[in-house]
């Protein structure tokens, strides 16, 4: 067995171990990492920056804990950006755990000294409408009457009693919607049953698996911009200068990708070097 044949026969557990090392070691290192901001991420940031203070924005957290490593940093950074811009925020989830994830993000974001000083009040500056079953039909219902789609908020309070919601009827009252999505229902449904029906402005943050599938909506203008996976989250942290976990995680991401790329190259080389020689 020659060198290349030995390489092809390497135990997959060796590769797992190397990937694990590449992921774990960077946690204990602190080296600068250059993150270039892509146009779709910049577009989301620019749009939010242009919104006048007091504008109503909505964030729909359509994901659950398994996707949190990719999407939670996005939710945190986006909420922070909204609050620092003095925007009024409506939070909801088309996934049962989505609005819970939003509450976890709120807890983290509210620890920021600047936001603490703003003394943001629930019901006045932000609300969490919670989850309601119905997938895309919830979006359609919200297009005509948000109060009908979400009669009560996350805590069971009637939303008609919340000052922030009293003058909100449908998407006409909302300046910008941001969807953080890990699958169905998610960005597809927000575009198809929301944007193309009710003509509001939508930005999205997706898991990396979904990102290439929804990116045609950016080119077509159906999405203002897109944050793709952990990298998209890190880019948003870079452009907004609100550094959270995504930027730190990109160190591990970079190292682990280097290992994967190395093994793809070596595996292909070994395959071509041993082609016709294998029994």
């Amino acid at each position: 067995m020659n060198f290349w044949q030995k390489l092809l026969a390497v135990d997959r557990r060796v590769i797992f171990a190397l990937v694990a090392v590449a992921v774990i070691i960077p946690f204990f290192l602190s080296f600068p990492i250059k993150i270039t901001v892509s146009p779709p991420v910049q577009a989301v940031y620019d749009y939010i920056e242009k919104l006048p203070p007091g504008s109503l924005v909505m964030i729909s957290c359509d994901y659950d804990p398994p996707s949190a490593p990719e999407l939670q940093p996005m939710t945190e950074t986006m909420l922070k950006h909204f609050f620092l811009k003095d925007l009024k925020v409506i939070i909801l989830g088309l996934w049962p755990q989505g609005s819970v994830q939003a509450n976890i993000a709120l807890e983290v974001v509210m620890r920021d000294p600047i936001l603490k000083a703003k003394n943001l009040k629930y019901g006045v500056d932000y609300v969490n409408l919670g989850f309601t079953a119905g997938n895309e039909f919830v979006i359609i219902r919200m297009g005509t009457d948000i109060h009908a789609a979400f009669p009560v908020d996350f805590n069971g309070t009637k939303i008609a009693e919340l000052p922030l919601m009293q003058n909100v009827r449908n998407f006409d009252n909302i300046a910008f919607v941001f969807n953080v999505s890990a699958g169905y229902p998610g960005t597809y449904e927000w575009v198809i049953f929301g944007v193309d029906r009710y003509r509001f402005k939508l930005g999205a943050g997706n898991t990396a698996v979904q990102a290439p599938l929804v990116s045609p909506y950016v080119q077509s203008g159906q999405l203002i911009g897109l944050l793709g996976g952990m990298r998209g989250g890190a880019e948003y942290e870079e452009v907004s200068h609100y550094f959270g976990k995504a930027t730190g995680f990109m160190r591990s991401q970079t190292f682990s990708h280097a290992v994967v790329i190395f093994f793809i190259i070596v595996g292909n080389l070994a395959y071509f070097m041993t082609r016709g020689k294998r029994t």
């Binding site: 946690f27 398994p66 309601t132 193309d196 990396a208 203008g221 990298r231 591990s252 990708h257």
Partner: protein, 209 residues
């Protein structure tokens, strides 16, 4: 290591279960089997409770209590769906299924046709010269890629000559698309691993500052 976070009951359970699941990468073992079974069981239980509290109670029971009897129609369809479990009258569930399929198809047909069909077609009709090299090349790639990709999926004519060349170019574009999707998938899976390792070494063991 931070003993407080390590022995915190929630962290301890999550940490042990994480190690149990990851241990499958070495080889199948009883701890992994236990964690897998636990996950499946808890997921089923969670969804059962979620559906009761987010669908059956607020969208049926509460409505009936407030005398909105039109919701009985939905409730009746729900019961019909459950009749699938009774072999002799399982055919009745087809009515409920027909309603779901029909209404979903009706809602989706127009939406998908407009958003994924018409809008996407409209946005591939692009000027090949915009006055700037960068955007012109971008537009050219979109137009050529879409055209050749469609040619590849045209099977009524043999892929030979110029037509075959266009189809091969289409394959190239498809390969690039698959490559990009694979790259993004790797990034996504790595992100999940990073999240778990961050929990194990950070939240649980308190080793990351």
């Amino acid at each position: 290591m931070d003993a407080n976070s390590f022995f915190n009951i929630g962290n301890l359970i999550a940490g042990i279960l994480t190690i149990g699941i990851v241990s499958f990468l070495y080889k199948d073992n009883p701890l992994y089997k236990f964690c897998e079974a636990l996950f499946v069981g808890i997921s089923a239980g969670y969804w059962f409770v979620t559906i009761i509290f987010t669908v059956i109670l607020p969208k049926l029971y509460d409505k009936l209590i407030s005398q909105e009897y039109v919701y009985l129609v939905g409730g009746a369809f729900g019961v019909l769906m459950l009749l699938r479990l009774v072999p002799k009258i399982s055919w009745l569930s087809n009515w409920a299924l027909a309603f779901v399929v029909g209404s979903t198809a009706g809602v989706n047909l127009i939406g998908y046709l407009q958003s994924n069909g018409m809008n996407q077609v409209k946005n591939t009709i692009l000027p090949l010269w915009t006055g700037a090299w960068g955007s012109s090349i971008g537009n050219l790639i979109i137009v050529v890629g879409t055209f050749c990709g469609l040619v590849y999926f045209f099977f009524s004519k043999e892929h030979k000559g110029v037509f075959g060349g266009l189809a091969k170019t289409g394959i190239l574009f498809l390969m690039v698309t698959f490559g990009a999707a694979f790259g993004y998938t790797v990034m996504s899976r790595m992100s999940l691993l990073i999240g778990r390792m961050d929990f194990v070494f950070g939240t649980w063991m308190g080793l990351i500052r």
